[in-house]
Symmetry: C2
Subunit: 709 residues, 2 copies
């Protein structure tokens, strides 16, 4: 306001002298104040801007701005993760309190048990769908696509971030009834945060960069896992695995740095909130370290790995079937199209009925929350022995075990019921159109499988050696750990769960058996080119992810470029004038244009960027209509050319390796096509569509054939 | 022998009927027996071959042969590692026994202490040098080169394997006097084993493949670390880091599988040899898990990381200086050229004099072996407190501590002497021309740095809180762990030592501080583009490793191909006849030849492989001298072309990404060069030579200038 009360020159002098602004800045400020008089607080804004720029210059002289960006990403993601955990815990406690207050009124308890999660999930669906229709599901398949190089700008927007955040919190607050997790959406959330921070950094550095760099996405994927579980190294391994074909080693250090910052912040926050005394593992276990397992037990762990691998095949088959069923069944497809919230509410109500503690829920530890389930399964205490001697003094840990062996039932019955019920419930929950993760449920399911085997072995070894007196102590918790890693690894076709299991529990004594079980389970699950959990979703959602599509159409990678490429419509001729270039820029959104000698022969001469063309137009805007591009500009030479004989896989590898935005396809010097990421996406979509049509036709013919025969 | 006693037809029938051989095999056998009558045991050999082929067919129907190859690599490497450990332990025990028998005779003890390691190292030098001159040193810089795609066949030969094996065993048997490790050469050994197994598999599958695949080398690198320490996951991380630019994600599963097999075998062998009761970490620690460290101690860990980073810069500077000094000093260069064994013996004698337990060795725990040093430094017991109360009951663990606080000296003095002495000894040991690793010594040195800080903090906190009575127990072992990871990570510019430290000790409670210290130390060590330990060796040895060379000549990556490429001498003309092709094949060893329309215009038409040309010659060997290649053969089309404007970095990335053997460089359709791995190597060598010459000239001018001024 002050700037208006004196002459401009004086104002510049005053500002430059008294407020420490540079003369140029002060002048800029005054120019802006006269040209944009409707913006308030000019002086303050300019001072803040000046301060920020100075701090930034000082900081970036010591440390690159992008490093700060990585650290900030880790810290912010961890803060979001912790805040979400707190909110979810409060909502869960409210539900538990209400349920316990209604003790004695079975009907009211039933309503409380079923309607609370149902309404939360319905809310989650309607909220996230109304803000961003794409926000349902895990998000990992989409992140895999983006990491493979495909641009999906809808999946990195702020509104999506908001929708996912609120939707996920509601879904998690529905508790173990719905049995959904956090890690998948969190990887996606972290990617969105990363993209936003990258834009912020770019604008702070004065650059106009809209597209997030590949590095940032890789780092974000690692941070997502790390700040969800406080497990930095498995976060980095996850980002290596999720990359698809090539992992750029230069992303390794930033990933680990950001992941370590995220994990440290996440764990320090629980120290600050007095949950823990120091920075420790999330689900810390304290198995006996003197003899964690007999060497011969390694065979049992290997068998557990194979069992988990076989079970994962069953689960994945059911999952693929139900995804297809929901899409093809007419009634369900109609409901899903119009009444998503109703569907969510209905399904969750059904799930809640099945887990009601006064019915079947009594035999499946339904009252425990997700984290309590995992902790109880990982405990060292032998449930079988506990249920035999009911008179042992019951500590706080054994309270968890009371849930697993309620009045008179052994742990084998409860674990069996749990495994049977949760299998179909898990498959059903995957169809819910809410933002939620599917990793943690699978992890817990695997832990239950391992626990069952472990308890069985304990039982057998106790019976077998009861005559000799000294039974070798088998730790069923170790089997639960290995089972969790093996099953979740087999379902997602990845090995990072093995390290995640170790980092989550801080239990390094079982490193070798856990790794062995995960490797064997993976070997079984990957055989015969079966699609993984994420592949199945990518195929159903028709996401352009090359490695997933290979599962359905293995021919894609070896297809010749000549068969699929389209002739480029937007080329710059050597002799192009101002008018033509103006038209070209208006009609096409591309950022790089090929330069050919003439439209007929199309001999490729080089390439020219959009910015260069705009600069050319700017230089000749006043009247130079006769100017030719060739007289005033030198093109970039073309560095890498593909021929029409190159395969799709080669084009994809080169594009990923050199991280270029476009490659030219030539045949004896003539331009026949341009490979960009959007072109790659188009090719994949068309190819999949063609293959799917082909498949559907074949299937229809088959199904028509069967009744007539 | 039997086959000669009857007619051939009968023999075939007999063999086919009675010995289960197929008729074709039996006939082949007889043909061979008549054409190669000098080979004995024909029948037996053929039966064995038949058996092997049947087993192979049965196995490969279930499992790919290459998977068996990976598993075998892990198991064999672990067996070699364990056998070497056993031999070294026996040799060390012999030395200790001799030394203890000479108690009371100081001169004899001195001779025993010094001559034993000196003669072992002299033996190691002369043996390994006489079998394979390249076998000295760690081998990791060479492995990095091979992983980057450069072919170094000398470094994968069987004689090299043998030289390295024996040389390394002798070097390790010299004990902590020489202070050298095992992991570097073991990575190299594993690579050689992998290459050999790959050749074996290829010949078993009936393929003639001489060059080991890139996959096998990556897997071998992981297996080397895993079977040396029993640490599979850090082995895989090591192989990711050592890859340079791109890590192919498809190598991840085989690497982890082979590494897990290696680690499991290595740890099971120690169970079988009654060293351990079950599969556990190599240097297992059992820190208190209830409160491993106070949250505020994280700051101390961060400071330790920075300290280790700074120290690593000092160490690396000394290392570079001495490498340069040994090469440039006239007397030393002469000795190194002719009398390598004398040099080794002399240096080791000097080192042994310095560590003689009755002199300075008394104050630096010289009697402990490498593994005892590491175990003692990682112990939870507080050395400061121990040395205060000498009356505490002394268990087996405290015996190690007696070495660190001998009569009247505190642990601070011994650690200080150790750190000061070992710094120059370590630098000096790096010049020894023997096959030995430099990772473990650096790891132990870092542990000593951490221990010193930890003991200091214990001392301060004990003094500060002695008035209040209850001192918060600081665990100096945790600092040793973090220091080891941070210092070794900073020296090698890698982060896998952080995970290695955790896997070696099985101590997951300190994951976050160890990671933090390693990250900070790395940040400091990598700043200002300082070369790492391996970079320095690669630069001095003039190895064609792109990422190392970037440290000396950063221009290499951005140099245009047009500036460095040579016109190809061996091209096939479209009109080439039989005679010309015969000449070409005789004169050139290349496996792929470019096809041009004629020698003058050199328009690239496609490529043709050596095998195709040989087949062409074979088809027209009798008289068809007038046949032209173009009439009878279709060429492979060229899929990827580079232009002369592409940079060296782009050529390198494309070659790595598509794993092709050659790329063609064209300019408007004309062939101007061929990029193969040997061409890449030539360019790098020439460029380095030019830069070195330039440097040397500049330095000579500078040194000439100084005296005159």
């Amino acid at each position: 306001m002050r700037a208006f009360q004196c002459s401009p020159e004086k104002a510049v002098e005053y500002l430059a002298m008294n407020e420490g602004l540079s003369v140029i800045h002060a002048e800029e400020m005054l120019t802006a104040s006269t040209t944009q008089p409707w913006k308030p607080w000019r002086c303050l804004r300019w001072m803040v801007k000046e301060c920020v720029q100075r701090t930034q210059a000082a900081v970036s002289s010591v440390l690159g701005l992008h490093w700060l960006c990585y650290v900030a990403l880790g810290v912010v993601t961890a803060l979001v993760s912790f805040a979400m955990n707190l909110t979810v815990a409060k909502l869960l406690r409210a539900h538990n309190w209400l349920y316990s207050q209604l003790e004695g009124h079975a009907v009211l308890q039933f309503l409380c048990w079923t309607l609370y999660p149902a309404s939360l999930c319905a809310l989650s669906t309607s909220f996230s769908h109304s803000i961003c229709p794409h926000s349902a599901g895990s998000g990992v398949p989409e992140v895999r696509c983006m990491l493979a190089g495909v641009e999906l700008p809808d999946y990195l927007s702020i509104s999506h971030l908001f929708a996912k955040l609120v939707g996920l919190t509601c879904a998690l607050a529905a508790g173990s009834t719905v049995f959904l997790g956090k890690v998948g959406p969190f990887v996606h959330l972290s990617t969105m945060l990363g993209a936003y921070l990258h834009r912020l950094c770019a604008s702070a550095a004065g650059k106009e960069e809209q597209k997030p760099k590949q590095e940032m996405l890789v780092v974000s994927a690692a941070v997502g896992v790390a700040s969800c579980f406080g497990a930095p190294i498995s976060g980095v391994l996850f980002s290596v695995e999720v990359m698809g074909t090539h992992y750029a080693v230069r992303d390794y250090y930033p990933s680990l740095l950001a992941a370590a910052c995220g994990a440290l912040t996440f764990r320090l926050l629980s120290v600050l909130s007095r949950e823990q005394e120091t920075v420790q593992a999330l689900f810390k276990t304290t198995y006996s370290t003197s003899l964690p397992f007999q060497p011969v037990e390694i065979l049992a762990f290997a068998a557990l790995g194979l069992l988990c691998g076989a079970l994962s095949c069953v689960y994945l088959f059911c999952h693929r079937w139900i995804l297809q069923f929901v899409r093809t069944n007419r009634i369900l497809a109609k409901i899903m199209a119009t009444e998503k919230a109703l569907y969510s509410g209905g399904v969750v109500f059904l799930l809640a009925c099945a887990t009601f503690p006064l019915s079947a829920g009594h035999f499946m530890a339904a009252k425990l929350s997700m984290s309590q389930l995992l902790s109880s399964l990982l405990e060292e205490t032998q449930g079988y022995v506990l249920s035999q001697n009911a008179s042992v003094p019951q500590g706080a840990e054994d309270l968890l075990w009371q849930a697993w062996s309620p009045s008179g039932t052994t742990i084998f019955v409860t674990l069996g019921v749990f495994l049977f019920m949760k299998l179909w419930m898990l498959v059903l929950a995957c169809t819910l159109p809410i933002p939620a993760g599917y990793f943690m449920p699978v992890f817990i399911y695997g832990a239950a499988v391992g626990r069952l085997l472990g308890e069985g072995l304990t039982h057998v070894s106790a019976n077998g050696t009861s005559s000799q007196g000294t039974a070798p102590a088998i730790n069923p918790g170790g089997y639960a750990l290995a089972g969790a890693a093996a099953f979740s690894g087999a379902v997602t076709h990845s090995l990072s769960p093995a390290l995640l299991a170790l980092e989550l529990t801080g239990q390094h004594t079982h490193a070798v058996p856990v790794l062995l079980a995960t490797l064997l389970a993976n070997a079984l699950a990957r055989s015969h080119h079966r699609p993984s959990f994420y592949d199945a979703i990518a195929i159903v959602k028709k996401l352009p992810h090359p490695l997933s599509l290979v599962r359905t159409c293995p021919k894609l990678l070896s297809v010749r470029l000549g068969q699929v490429i389209q002739a480029p419509t937007t080329v710059v001729e050597k002799q192009s004038g101002v008018t033509h270039i103006q038209q070209l820029l208006n009609s096409s959104p591309e950022s790089v244009f090929p330069v050919v000698d003439c439209q007929e022969s199309r001999v490729l001469l080089g390439s020219v960027s959009r910015l260069q063309l705009e600069a050319f137009l700017h230089a000749h805007r006043d009247g130079g209509l006769a100017k030719k591009l060739v007289d005033h500009w030198s093109f970039q030479p073309v560095k890498i050319q593909l021929s029409a004989e190159a395969t799709f896989k080669q084009a994809y590898s080169v594009l990923t390796a050199v991280r270029e935005q476009c490659l030219f396809v030539t045949e004896r010097g003539r331009l026949v096509g341009v490979i960009t990421w959007s072109e790659i996406k188009r090719i994949m979509e068309e190819f999949t569509k063609a293959t799917t049509l082909h498949h559907q036709t074949a299937e229809r013919m088959k199904s028509n054939h069967i009744p007539t025969s």
